[in-house]
């Protein structure tokens, strides 16, 4: 649940909750469509995977409270303007519907990324980068016009080891309890996070060298 909102913000939050449930059938349709298309376009790769290679497709509908928080954090000062309630819409979010493709190892990931990019040519890239600017994961957003012109969707192609780590880290860092909240984004935690990601990438690179020998 979101923390208690100041009185002035509540009408906008309630209006956006209402919008969310109006949009929900569309969001579900988009997730279903995007997941189906991604599964179809990665099928040839899936069928020729070696025993140590993996490809997993996961999808999710962004939850109501998560969508509200995400929209609010896009405003400077993380605050909805009570004097302009009409300017906010959840349809401005790029990821109400999301599909994540987890792949191991890197060689297969590049193949999957290429296949999907060929299918979703008009989608906008928004890669996830590490602190040095290197691409950690491929991310694109766009629309599935066949099923909805309102909802933006996102798909990601992510190294499996990092994606699974992010699942745990996201719950711990981005959805913390109040006592954890102040410490989770500290410099030591950020430093350790970067080291974990680096170690996972190094493991994957070494593994690929190992199996190619």
């Amino acid at each position: 649940m979101m923390p208690e909102r100041p009185v002035d913000e509540r009408p906008i939050v309630n209006q956006l909750r209402e919008e969310y449930f109006d949009l929900l059938p569309d969001i579900r349709r988009v997730v279903f469509q995007l997941e189906a298309e991604i599964r179809y376009h990665t099928l040839s790769t899936l069928h020729k995977l070696k025993h140590y290679e993996q490809l997993v497709v996961k999808s999710r509908v962004k939850e109501c409270e998560s969508a509200l928080k995400s929209l609010r954090r896009r405003q400077e000062g993380g605050t909805f303007d009570p004097e302009r309630p009409g300017i906010y819409s959840l349809t401005s979010l790029p990821d109400l519907a999301g599909v994540r493709v987890l792949v191991f190892p890197r060689g297969v990931l590049n193949e999957v990324e290429g296949e999907l990019h060929t299918r979703f040519t008009d989608w906008t890239p928004d890669p996830v980068r590490d602190e040095r600017g290197a691409v950690l994961a491929h991310k694109y957003f766009g629309k599935c016009f066949d099923v909805s012109s309102k909802i933006h969707a996102e798909y990601q192609v992510v190294p499996m080891l990092i994606g699974l780590y992010w699942d745990v880290e996201h719950s711990a860092i981005y959805k913390p309890t109040p006592t954890v909240k102040g410490k989770a984004n500290s410099e030591p935690m950020k430093d350790l996070n970067a080291k974990v990601v680096r170690a996972l990438l190094d493991f994957e690179a070494e593994f690929e060298r190992f199996v190619q020998d």
């Binding site: 009185v7 002035d8 913000e9 400077e76 000062g77 993380g78 605050t79 009570p82 909240k181 102040g182």
Partner: protein
Amino acid sequence: MKKDILREANYRYNFDRDIYFNRKAKKAFSLEFVDDKSEEVLRQSIQEPTDGSAWKFYFNSDPSEGVKRVLEQVLG
């Protein structure tokens, strides 16, 4: 580092609103302001005298009275 400048001036970070604030100084800086402005501007803004009667918000775009009201409720 801008974060060190803010920490040394006793500013805390509000994770829910993405702002740095100091209740004693009654000043708040948006993350966007901190990211976009130079260290020099940040230091000047921290040192800028105020009468301390109301919160002063340092944003890239001036916040409306409504936004100020919400943040004043949040910051106490």
